[in-house]
């Protein structure tokens, strides 16, 4: 029963694939409902299994509280993506170019990718780990290139697949070295056998590069701008949250469970990566015009903050990162939901196009502003609280300079997030602007994600809940046991 959520998701995927063959076009709305319901049931089942621990297949598939927290993220991201792509797939958008076709396949592929991510965090074995990662990534290549008639979209898909293959190869090579060093694919065994050697460092460098690609860490981030801009916006939203969370899950398993106790020594690597990631992301975001490209660089800089949680090992590291992930997905999805809404209705994607949105659609502009402020880390929104915990981890690890850098970067980021707020609130309204109608699906999504972005900041016990439940997992004892 431990694997039930994954099985539900996969089963839903197959049912949709089959039904898609038989259903008449006008009845295909049921596919989206099915996809959503499948994810929702899996989410319910996952939530229900809180407090349970267990393993399958001789310890190769483990469910613990950490895995559950990650799975909730993946399922929420999947559900939001279904909601965000609803209008485009059902052809309800005012802007005809925004519409997308082949919804049966879209949902199937999305669900498979989600299932891959869910397997990923439960894996305790190099092979399962890699297969799960591929299961989550390859569907994303397809999703990115969904609008195959759109040259920009095709280009994005091609770039993503080429560079994705490159990063996969590097990652696999890194994992191969680990196997070579230890003679085992079991994470626990590897962590006991490995010793410091140049081969290990090479392996770590390659794994970092492979995962840096998924997390959009500078300098492995190059693909992000072009792919984020070219992909259909719901897919971009999915990439920016789910794919990043999957990367976090992977890096968590390898760096905490395998390299465990020796971890302190890699600190400087993460400090440097965090510094250049947030700095470059923020600086380049300043001059962007296209809002999706802008969000790509914003996402890059957020990844820089996120990996500050790895400056450990401290028991606070993982809860801080998880909390930030939650704050980040809700916040980021608020912004993407508004971007999708605006593109659906007008087909516009430039920052200048948001002129005077606060006068035509004040509530939506308000939600967007809250989302942007939370991304910039303005109290009392969740982004601020999340950053606070991450910065305190960095400070505890002795990287006070990094906290300074991160604070300066937050200031820079406030500048460019405010650029959009300025367009919405200060610049004169566009000549042909009228009040735009919002579909119930998007309105609901914006409402729920905005509430999440606000309330995670205000409700203090959410972090405490993560902290306490995560303590039930064995991740911290694994680190302390292998400390040397």
């Amino acid at each position: 029963m431990l694997m039930l959520p994954e099985l539900i998701v996969i089963a839903a995927g197959f049912i949709i694939l089959l039904l898609d063959l038989f259903l008449a076009e006008e009845k295909k709305n049921i596919l989206g409902t099915l996809a959503f319901a499948g994810l929702l049931i899996a989410l319910g089942r996952t939530l229900f299994s809180f407090g349970q621990q267990g393993e399958l297949f001789g310890g190769r598939f483990v469910v613990d509280s950490v895995a559950i927290w990650f799975k909730i993220i993946f399922l929420l991201a999947g559900m939001t993506t279904v909601a965000l792509s609803w209008d485009r797939l059902t052809g309800k958008t005012t802007d005809i170019a925004s519409r997308m076709k082949h919804r049966g396949e879209f949902y199937t592929i999305l669900l498979f990718s989600t299932a891959g991510m869910m397997y990923l965090i439960s894996s305790r074995d190099l092979v399962t780990l890699y297969i799960s990662l591929e299961l989550s990534t390859i569907p994303l290549f397809v999703l990115v290139a969904w609008d195959r008639d759109n040259p920009l979209c095709g280009e994005a898909g091609l770039k993503y697949v080429i560079l994705g293959a490159l990063s996969s190869a590097v990652l696999l090579y890194g994992l191969g070295i680990l196997y070579g060093l230890s003679g085992s694919t079991d994470l626990a065994t590897i962590s006991q056998k490995i010793t410091h050697s140049p081969a290990l460092w090479l392996s770590v460098a390659m794994i970092t590069a492979g995962i840096g690609f998924k997390l959009t860490l500078v300098p492995f981030h190059m693909w992000a701008a072009d792919v984020y801009q070219g992909a259909p916006t719901p897919v971009t939203a999915h990439l920016s949250v789910a794919s990043k969370a999957a990367g976090m899950a992977f890096i968590f398993l390898l760096f905490y469970r395998v390299l465990g106790g020796a971890f302190q020594e890699w600190n400087i690597l993460f400090a440097v990566l965090a510094t250049i990631t947030m700095t470059l992301g923020n600086l380049v975001a300043i001059i962007q015009q296209n809002i999706k490209r802008f969000m790509a660089f914003s996402a890059i800089s957020q990844a820089g903050y996120l990996i500050m949680g790895f400056l450990g090992p401290f028991p606070e590291g993982l809860p801080s990162m998880l909390f930030y992930l939650y704050a980040y997905i809700f916040t980021n999805l608020v912004v993407f939901a508004v971007i999708i809404f605006y593109a659906n209705e007008t087909g516009r994607e430039n920052i200048d196009d948001y002129r005077g949105l606060s006068r035509t659609n004040p509530i939506i502009a308000g939600a967007m502003m809250l989302g942007l402020f939370s991304l910039a880390g303005i109290p009392p929104l969740s982004g601020f609280v999340g950053k606070f915990f991450l910065f305190s981890v960095a400070s505890k690890a002795g990287f006070h300079w990094l906290v300074g850098v991160a604070a300066i970067n937050s200031t820079i980021s406030l500048y460019y997030y405010l650029r959009i707020v300025r367009q919405m609130y200060i610049e004169p309204t566009m000549e042909d602007a009228t009040t735009l109608q919002i579909s119930p699906m998007l309105a609901g999504t914006i409402a729920i994600t905005t509430l999440g972005a606000v309330f995670f900041g205000i409700i203090p016990f959410f972090y405490e809940t993560i902290n306490q439940t995560v303590a039930a997992s064995d991740w911290w004892s694994v680190i302390t046991a292998t400390a040397r």
């Binding site: 460098a205 190059m222 701008a225 400087i268 380049v284």
Partner: protein, 664 residues
């Protein structure tokens, strides 16, 4: 000790206006103007009811010792061991007195404003600010430590700024609010410096005491919900602490640190209480709506300075010279303002100068008291108590007149006696009360002040006090005769009619209070040091004072009640002297000269230049550099997959290099 509900929840008294401030400001004001006024007013009435309950419970539970207690407090800031600050409520006879005065006057002013401000633009905003003002003052009054007092002190300043500048489209109101804020802020700099000096030594002494004599600290901890802290009034005022203070060494010229700290703190008090030479903001502060003036002059803001000196009285008493400065500045302001008050033509301006003069009485009375002969302390607070009622009444009465005549000039009024009977009677009662005619309230407190001055052998101050006791009735009856007697001088006065009942009710209540407040046996409630023996009216002082007052009234009657020729002749004879007094001794002009010719030229301009060029320039440079680097970095993004892949491979090698170098 059986603590009642209000006694253990004394925080309610300041909290109710605060909650109402948020409610009215954020939710009710946008919805309904009428509801805003009603909610704000009833909140303050509720707070007043709590204050009365508190007084009742306290005097029941703590008679006859009257300990000062801290029934509720929470830690607010903790810097290190021994150095922490709480937010709490201090209950002792003095704070209860102030709470009762503030809530009573404030609730009546709220009630009056419902009528007075009817139909004004920003009616809801007005009540929001009024609630904030009341909260700030109550927070100040209940402060158990000097830090909380300072915070609320600044809040009082900020909310007075908002209220004085209420008519923000009127340039004179804007400049008056700025003036009030800047002058009091300037004085607060002294206050803050004084706090820092006092706090530094307080912390030091605290360490000494906690090492050597813990019993002293334990004694102070009695009746407190949190441990005593270095900034607490109870700590600072304790004899053991003051004895330690006295040993803290002296500066150049033999001024002890204690005196320096107390003089600096008095600068803050003088700013808020508008003592000479920081008095210039108060006469202008009448640019706000008249009920606000009543609140500022009677119950909040200006009495804060008197209250601060009274709170720290034992420390002032330990530094005799600081107390002497308080006494002489008080006495000088008392005379100075009364003289100016005789020449002003704006009814509110006369009342403003009379407030200055009466505050001078309170300050001088504190100044002449000592720990051995503390009659002046009681007298000062007694006068604060009685003055609050008749001054509020005078201002509200003046507001009623202004509301009817639509002018502030007394020469535009006249003959209102029959047109506005209730206003007339209540105004007359207040005028007699301030003039010090028995058995009205002002007589008792003024008599006690004069007795205190003479009792501690301050003959000069007693002389000034007696002289002002004659000037006060003169200028007060001057405006009374000109406003209410004689013929109608303008159209406005011709068509004046009585104010609505919602405005008259507070007048009537205050009139009753102005008559009976003097009969409160203040000495048995509020005192410091040894309990005062019961002492009746000192007729040797009272009779001359009454005679002087009657003379003042007689002169006013002679000059202003009938033919005005006598006045113009007198003014002509006085010539230059009259001009100088009428122009308030050119104190404002002196300030303007100094600020324009020295401060602006040699301090402000260089700072402004530095700000515009160096500070702003560096900010612009940072912004420009950031954008430029973003632009340069964006060129890495070529759009070529080959470039991306090359970067990727190269970066992997760099990461490996980094690891190899750091882990070697």
């Amino acid at each position: 000790m059986n603590e009642g509900f209000i006694l253990s929840n004394a925080w309610l008294i300041p909290a109710i206006p605060l909650i109402s401030f948020f409610l009215v400001g954020m939710f009710i004001r946008p919805a309904s103007k009428q509801a805003a006024g009603l909610v704000a007013t009833s909140a303050v009435f509720l707070s007043a009811a709590c204050a009365y309950m508190l007084a009742w419970e306290y005097y029941q539970a703590f008679a006859p010792e009257y300990q000062s207690i801290v029934p509720w407090s929470i830690e607010w800031l903790r810097y290190q061991e021994f150095l922490s600050v709480s937010v709490g409520v201090l209950v002792d006879p003095t704070s209860i007195l102030l709470m009762v005065v503030v809530t009573t006057v404030s609730s009546l002013v709220h009630l009056y404003s419902i009528g007075y401000m009817h139909g004004e633009e920003g009616y809801g905003r007005y009540f929001t600010y009024l609630n904030l003002f009341t909260f700030s003052m109550l927070g100040l009054v209940v402060a158990p430590n000097i830090m909380q007092m300072f915070v609320c002190w600044e809040l009082v300043g900020a909310s007075s700024f908002l209220l004085i500048g209420y008519y923000y489209d009127k340039p004179s109101a804007v400049s008056a609010s700025k003036k009030a804020f800047i002058v009091t802020r300037f004085a607060d700099l002294g206050f803050l410096l004084g706090i820092l000096i006092l706090g530094y030594f307080g912390y030091h002494v605290y360490g000494v005491l906690s090492d050597s004599s813990t019993s002293v600290l334990a004694e102070m901890n009695q009746y407190s919900s949190t441990a005593i802290q270095p900034f607490d009034f109870k700590f600072l005022n304790h004899p053991a602490v003051i004895a330690q203070f006295a040993d803290q060494g002296s500066l150049l010229g033999g001024i002890s640190m204690l005196t320096l700290a107390m003089v600096l703190i008095f600068a803050g008090a003088a700013g808020k209480s508008a003592m000479f030479p920081l008095h210039i903001w108060l006469p202008d502060a009448m640019e706000g709506p008249t009920p606000v003036s009543a609140l500022i002059h009677a119950a909040t803001m200006v009495v804060a300075g008197v209250y601060l000196v009274a709170r720290l009285f034992p420390v002032y008493a330990a530094s005799g010279s600081a107390l002497l400065i308080v006494a002489y500045i008080g006495a000088f302001t008392c005379l100075f303002a009364a003289v100016i008050g005789c020449t002003q033509d704006d009814i509110k301006r006369v009342l403003a100068f009379s407030t200055l003069s009466q505050l001078g009485y309170m300050m001088l009375s504190l100044g002449v008291a000592t720990m051995a002969h503390p009659l002046g302390y009681t007298a000062s607070l007694f006068h604060l108590f009685t003055h609050a009622f008749f001054k509020a009444l005078l201002f509200l009465g003046a507001g009623s007149v202004i509301h009817a005549v639509h002018s502030n000039e007394i020469w535009d009024m006249g003959g209102l006696k029959r047109k506005m009977p209730v206003t007339h009677i209540t105004f007359l009662i207040a005028t007699i009360a301030i003039a010090g005619i028995p058995p009205f309230a002002g007589f008792f407190s003024k008599d006690e002040i004069l007795a205190a001055a003479l009792g501690n052998h301050h003959q000069i101050i007693f002389g000034i006090g007696l002289l002002v006791a004659g000037l006060t009735p003169f200028y007060m009856f001057r405006i009374y005769f000109v406003t209410f007697w004689g013929p109608h001088r303008t159209e406005g006065a011709e068509h004046a009619h009585e104010s609505p009942p919602v405005m008259l009710l507070p007048l009537a209540i205050l009139a009753v209070l102005a008559v009976i407040a003097g009969f409160v046996p203040m000495a048995s409630f509020v005192h410091i040091g040894e309990p005062l023996g019961h002492h009746g009216i000192n007729w040797a002082i009272a009779i001359p004072a009454i005679l002087v007052a009657l003379t003042g009234i007689g002169v006013a009657w002679f000059l202003y009640a009938g033919n005005q020729d006598r006045v113009s002749k007198l003014v002509q004879n006085l010539g230059v002297v009259y001009r100088v007094i009428k122009d308030k001794f050119y104190i404002d002009e002196v300030y303007l000269f100094i600020t324009h010719n020295f401060i602006f030229k040699y301090i402000s301009r260089p700072i402004a230049w530095f700000d515009r060029n160096v500070v702003d320039g560096s900010m612009n440079l940072t912004g420009w550099a950031t954008r430029m680097s973003g632009w340069i970095l964006s060129h890495m993004q070529t759009g070529q997959v080959q470039t991306y892949a090359a970067w990727y491979a190269l970066s992997t090698i760099v990461v490996f290099g980094l690891l190899a170098v750091t882990l070697q």
